[in-house]
Amino acid sequence: MIMNKYTTNRLVTTSTLCIGVLVAFTLLLSGCKKMLDVDSSRIVGEKYMWNSLEDTRAALMGTYGLMRAALADHNAHWLYGDVRAGEFASPNRQDLRAIIANDLTASYPSLEALSNWRRWYAVINSANIFLERVPEVREKDLRYSVNNMTVDIAQIRFLRAFAYFYMVRIWGDVPLIISSHDGSFENKPRENQDKVLAWAEQEMLAAALDLPYRYSASDEQQQGDYYNEDSGRWDGALARKLTAYAVLAHLAAWQGNYPDAANYSKFVLDDYARAGMGYISTGHLTDANGFFFNKKTNQLFGFAFDWGHVDASFTGHIEELTLAEPVVNKQIPDIYLPKDSIITIFNEAGDERFALDTLGTPVSERYFSNYNGKYPIFSKIKCIMGGVNDPSFRIFTSAIVFTRLEDITLLRAEALAVLGERQGAINLLNEIRTRRGLDPYNEDINGDLINTIFLERQRELMGEGHRWYDLVRYNRIRPSHPMIGQLITNGGILWPVSRALLTQNDQLTQNAYWQ
């Protein structure tokens, strides 16, 4: 009985089973495809990108962010600009000492990173992709207006050109790549730096035409709220028309093209009020929550680490290099300016930035703290956390400022002085001097005009990544520095190209000085 039941059961089950298997199999095959099509929740695939204005905003901000990363990596902006000038000394960090001694091929991770231009090309690639793909968004998203696109493209073109300008100052000839080559990358040789700069200048000029003076501020070239955010969100965060002219002025000056430098800088100085900018006081310049804290309209071209946006970071700030006790909890600074240098540089009484009183004690601690200690602490920029004086936590919020109005003023003064327009130069120089508590320029007291302008630049822009380039420009005008003069002649002002890059791309060659 039991056996019988079992057999029938078995037969019935076997036949249903076969049909079941067949049905299931067909269903399964169609179901499998669905099961295997899993969209990543970690990255955005091509099909979900370039569809809406949120995508262009993300890509635009991403390009800025990549630029900030390039400048901040290993504190590159200051290692290139301030440390290499050789005026700061480093008590402990052997890699910084190597930079100071111009041993740029020494094998430290930071030097290897500084010789590698990849991060700059990430900016460029991101920009190239943007320029190639942005029309798709215009087609797909009606909210994305022509004006919005024009302004976006202008910023992207400017950022790309700026990246090339920055790279040329570091490496000279660099590969000029102006399309994304997505998926069909090819190794390119280095392009002559003059050609690269000429191209960058044209790009920046074109961008400058389309860029507004301000965003979300009823500028005729950018109407309405930019990406639906008010001016408070954008002020100081983005490249503007005057940003482009300021960088153009630097580009021209670097080429020794002082007439153009004077023209471009004039544009900035004529229109800064329209862009909502003005000269800043010494107090504001050096306050923990002053000019360098977060983003500011006066940061003519800056990359902010906004405290409120949880952007504060431990590295990527001059403070990481310069600050130590008593400003922050750290026994010895990575770099410091020796006392002798301080006295030589700040040699005028009444200087609000730094001056000694008759007894030889500092009048203020704006630029230097712990002046009488073993290591004077260069504390001009000291944006700790939310702009406070708490030494306990070394997380910083200062922006990376490439240029500001005072820089352009002095740059124009330099240009005018070189071009022989002495009075114009002196007037501009005095714009800065008087705001820093100094008497107007007097040749009998202050000496040579060009020297004074460069000295003023050194004092005003110390720790902002300018000094090395200033020294190069100065020595091109007046070869005086024993080492830099020679380096200009033999190409040693350039950095070596990273060995990793040379291995990857057989079209590249090492800079002659570093071969």
Binding site: N9, N125, S180
Partner: protein, 994 residues
């Protein structure tokens, strides 16, 4: 989906339902009793022991498919006071290599079966090289490496970072099989591409049985030589004396403060910190199980608790475990079985500065290291009293299986789940870190859901022929997720958690209350991976002489690109029972089998990035800040320049394997030999090639890396002295494997490639060090070779007196990377175990040795000590000095005195000066036991067996290595000095069956 899943239960089958119960040959007489009982039960007619039913037929036919792979029976393995499966198996399985880089209980221990399938560059490659562990047919899921994306340092994964294979209690295990060739692994699919460790739990028995096992022991505090500031000062003085005139190398040079003042007792006083760092650790374990029921329904239930304290830094691990098996046979033709294994693992982690700073992503001022003075060190440790670091992991796996047994046709359908979740709640008070408190919370899970169906048909072809057909499908859903947040600078040390405003009506809803919102960092990540497999296998046996088995499978992965989603893979296995065929009456050979398997198996992509083609992500990171969240408060999208380019057209990677094996038994199985030769070619693998820097990319992921592993494995076991000849017996087992790897192709036809500080060259090993060869020192400037008026350079820097004399291999008088050579190897060429089992009467003695031969260790710890100039005063991870800085390790005198200030970094780690022979032999287990069963037989009827033992573990290590234990190296082959000693442990244990 769910619709047809239900349908499928009808026509279904378990692929993973084939755990082989090839009992791991039982040699110890004591063991025989237990295993034999289980075996017999499983064959009882009409019993509910369903686990083996579908396999039994298989087993009887194709014995030659899976030879013995574990040296000792699981009961003997259980003597080792191990935390993880890896520790149990380290010296047991030939061809399975285990990296135990720290003695800290519960840390991750990578495993490699038959060598390295790819170069190991980071934790991601470690993950991709791991074998699959299968528990009762459930393929266990491990932690996805995606969390490393937000980590500056990859020392430990965020979260509890507990070894997920701490969930195996060896007392519940009936057998372990290490499946190395495709004949054994193919059925497990692409998950098993790196080999499979198949574990089978003990099955219920229809009669009531109770057993109890326990041990208690102590992990012995190691003895070390301590040093203090005076010693370190003297060590450094010799460099100052030699290379400086005034004790200062340059005007800016500073001598560290902590060494400057010889009256400072904190550093110059007694160095007795070890009293608070090293300690004896208590280890114990107790577990009990009961099984019972009747013929048609029975169960086994086991519970256990284990603790394993480390010998340093108050580390330790606790495990609570429970395992439940049930088998039912409600109808003649229907079997139901279910298993659930639950474990909770809690871990006390080390308190090294490195791990703490890495967790915090913040390095405080490092100018003053920890004091070697015990009083001061104790004061420092007391600050931890106000902190917590809770690490808990819950690991649960289970399955429910239905077997429809229609005599020749069997259908199995199974649902299996493996789920594990980890928590880490962490708080460091202000006192510990320059007035900055830190809190972090982690929750993450890894989850695998499996639905598989298996259908088998035993074709009737007459007495001599056996044909066995199988077909199956597997649907597998994997999901990985974590939520993680950390915060700095709480308002006080009393609120230790990152409190958020919880009132939804409050404007500040979800705003952090105790920590500043600007210093709260939040992360979540989620990734999925689905796998669909179909397979069929036909196995044919002729007269127990010839066996052939062909498996065809097709696997589809969601991490493969849509255009190449599926991979078809065939595997052919052949067996020839020469004994039955040709030497029927031969007295010498009792077994003589020849096995061969060849075929292909797919390898899975770990990251879903590769399935998407070109993509965009939110990476704005730079060195030291890997988590830049956006720009101007907006989320951003850019190409993943840091991660690297991955385009279209990425094919499946796969492994082609050939294995030839010989199983011999001599003199009526008195001598047993398993010999295997294999070649394993892992092909078409993705490699991140540093390229396209001019397009912003760090790497480009290109397919086409091929790695070959070839090797020989021998397992030789002999009953040298048999019990039958007297009361004494001795059974030695030698399990030894030789492995050689070779890079056979790089993507794009490249010949060689430099990645980080490693060079990979086609035709060479993939685990070599790439080092400068050191030939001493240039004592004077005059010794430096000058060619064409230019003195020898190192990367553009002229060498001077006091710099190392590095071999200029290409003779261009410039030392560059080109002059580095591929030297040594990280992975041992020969590894294995030598087990000895002695018995005399009721006494038994085990002595197990573990050895690695032909392997190198780079003593980075020593390089760091000599490179003190570059480590002093800077704020980076290499400059962190742990309390163990005050321990003398190795022999300082064998290194030349270079000028440590030189920009060529004379004590750089990447030179053969610090490369040493890392071969070793360890006495891993020495155990003496006594079986009291006979004694009790007359007196107590309840106790079936009682066995007590006493054992010592890691008793000694013999090695030419001058540092500490040569096992304590990371996956790069570096001895960083961070590995905690693997302790010498003594235990006393009891095993009892009622």
């Amino acid at each position: 989906m769910s619709l047809f899943c239900t349908l499928l239960i009808l026509g279904a089958c378990p692929s993973f339902g084939c755990p082989n119960l090839i009992a791991d040959s039982k040699k110890g007489p004591l063991v025989d009793t237990i295993n034999a009982t289980i075996e017999k039960d499983s064959l009882t007619n009409d019993s509910a022991v369903v686990q083996f039913l579908p396999i039994d037929r298989d087993r009887s036919l194709f014995t030659d498919r899976n030879p013995q792979s574990i040296s000792l029976p699981s009961e003997d393995i259980a003597h080792y006071p191990a935390v993880s499966l890896q520790q149990y198996l380290k010296d047991q399985a030939v061809g399975l290599y285990i990296q135990e880089s720290s003695g800290e209980p519960g840390t991750i221990q990578p495993m490699f079966i038959r060598g390295l399938p790819m170069p190991i560059l980071s934790q991601k490659e470690v993950y991709q090289s791991q074998p699959l562990v299968v528990l009762d047919g459930i393929p266990l899921i491990s932690e996805h490496p995606f969390a490393y994306d937000i980590q500056q340092y990859d020392f430990n994964r965020i979260g509890p970072a507990t070894n997920l294979l701490s969930n195996i209690d060896m007392n519940n295990i009936a057998s372990v099989q290490v499946l190395k060739d495709l004949a054994g692994t193919a059925i497990y699919g692409p998950l098993g591409a790196n080999g499979v460790i198949a574990i089978t739990t003990k099955q219920p028995s229809p009669t009531r049985k109770i057993s109890f096992n326990s041990y208690v022991g102590i992990a012995q505090r190691p003895t070390v030589t301590t040093i203090n500031g005076a010693y370190e000062n003297n060590f450094r003085r010799q460099f100052y004396d030699r290379y400086t005139a005034s004790g200062q190398y340059s005007a800016d040079d500073t001598y560290p403060l902590y060494l400057s003042d010889s009256l400072n007792t904190a550093y110059y006083g007694s160095s007795n910190w070890t009293d608070n760092y090293y300690q004896n650790g208590l280890v114990y374990s107790a577990d009990a199980d009961i099984s019972g029921g009747g013929d048609r329904a029975n169960f086994r239930f086991a519970v256990g608790h284990m603790q394993n304290r480390g010998v340093a830094d108050e580390t330790g691990l606790k495990r609570y475990s429970a395992l439940f098996n049930i088998n039912m046979k409600p109808l003649e033709w229907l079997l139901f079985s279910a298993m659930i294994n639950g474990n909770r693992v809690q871990r006390d982690r080390n308190r090294t500065l490195r791990d703490r700073f890495a967790t915090m992503s913040y390095i405080p001022d490092l100018a003053s290291p920890l004091s070697p003075n015990n009083d001061i060190y104790r004061g420092y440790l007391q600050q931890f009293d106000n902190s917590f670091d809770n690490n808990a992991t819950n690991i649960v796996e289970g399955h429910a299986k239905l077997v429809f047994d229609f005599n020749r046709l069997k259908v199995t359908s199974r649902v299996a789940v493996d789920y594990n979740e980890g928590y880490r709640d962490l708080f460091y008070p202000r006192t510990l870190m320059e007035e900055n408190s830190y809190a972090s919370n982690y929750y993450g899970y890894n989850q695998r859901l499996l639905f598989d169906n298996h259908l088998s048909y035993d074709v009737d072809l007459g007495a001599q022929h056996t044909l066995y057909l199988e077909a199956g499908s597997t649907l597998q859903w994997d999901a990985f997720k974590y939520n993680y947040a950390y915060a700095y600078k709480g308002i006080n040390d009393f609120i230790k958690i990152n409190l958020l405003e919880s009132d939804p009506d409050n404007l500040d809803y979800l705003v952090p209350q105790a920590f500043p919102s600007q210093l709260v960092y939040k992360f979540l990540d989620y990734t999925k991976q689905n796998l669909v497999s179909f397979y069929g296998r036909g196995s044919y046996n002729f007269n127990d002489k010839y066996t052939a088995s062909l498996l065809l499978r097709s696997d589809g992965s969601s991490n493969a690109q849509p255009t190449s989603r599926w991979l078809f893979a065939p595997v052919l296995s052949l067996g020839w029972n020469i004994k039955n065929d040709l030497m029927g009456d031969d007295a010498t050979f009792s077994t003589f089998n020849l096995r061969a398997s060849a075929g292909r198996m797919g390898r899975l992509n770990v990251f879903d990035n590769f399935s998407q083609g070109p993509s965009y992500s939110a990476q704005l990171s730079y060195t030291g800040n890997v988590v830049a969240p956006g720009y101007n408060g907006f989320g951003v999208l850019a190409r993943p320049y840091e991660f690297g380019w991955s385009g279209y057209g990425i094919p499946w990677a796969y492994t082609d394997q050939l294995n030839i094996g010989l199983d011999m038994g001599l003199a009526d199985e008195r001598i047993r030999i398993n010999l295997d030769w294999y070649t394993k070619h892992d092909k078409n693998q993705l490699l991140g090639i540093p390229s396209y820097a001019e397009y912003g990319y760090n790497l480009s992921y290109e397919a086409g890396m091929d790695v070959n592993n070839t090797g020989v494995e021998l397992q030789l076991s002999a009953d040298v002295i048999q019990r039958s000849e007297g009361r004494f017996s001795w059974t030695p087992t030698l399990a030894v494997s030789y492995n050689q790897n070779k890079l056979t192709a790089l993507p794009g036809g490249l010949d060689e490639i430099v990645i980080g500080n490693r060079l990979f060259r086609v035709g060479e090993r993939i685990d070599q060090f790439w080092l400068l060869q050191n030939e001493g020192i240039y004592l004077t400037d005059a010794e430096i070779p000058i060619i064409g008026g230019i003195p020898q350079h190192f990367n553009g820097i002229a060498l001077r007196a006091g710099d190392p004399r590095w071999v200029d291999t290409n003779g261009d008088n410039a030392i560059t990377d080109v002059d580095k050579s591929l030297i040594g190897n990280i992975f041992p060429k020969v590894a294995g175990g030598f087990m000895n089992q002695f018995s005399y009467g009721n006494w038994s003695l085990d002595a197990n040795f573990y050895f690695n031969i032909g392997r190198n260790v780079l003593n980075a710890d020593m390089a760091n000590r000599f490179d003190f100039i570059n480590r002093e005063g800077t704020t980076n991870m290499n400059s962190v000095k742990e309390i163990t800085f005050w321990e003398k390790r190795g022999d300082y005198s064998q290194y030349p005195l270079y000028n440590p200030w030189s920009n060529v970094i004379p004590y750089r780690a990447d030179q053969d000066l610090f490369l040493e022979n890392g071969s070793f032999v360890k006495l891993r287990t020495l155990s003496v036991g006594y079986d009291l069963s006979d004694l009790l037989k007359g007196r107590s009827s309840t106790i079936e067996r009682l066995y007590i033992y006493c054992s010592g573990h890691n008793l000694f290590t013999l090695s030419p290595y001058t540092g500490r234990d040569p096992e304590l190296v990371d996956y790069m082959g570096y001895d960083t000095g961070y590995g905690m000693p693997i302790p010498r442990t003594y235990t006393l244990g009891i095993r009892m069956n009622l």
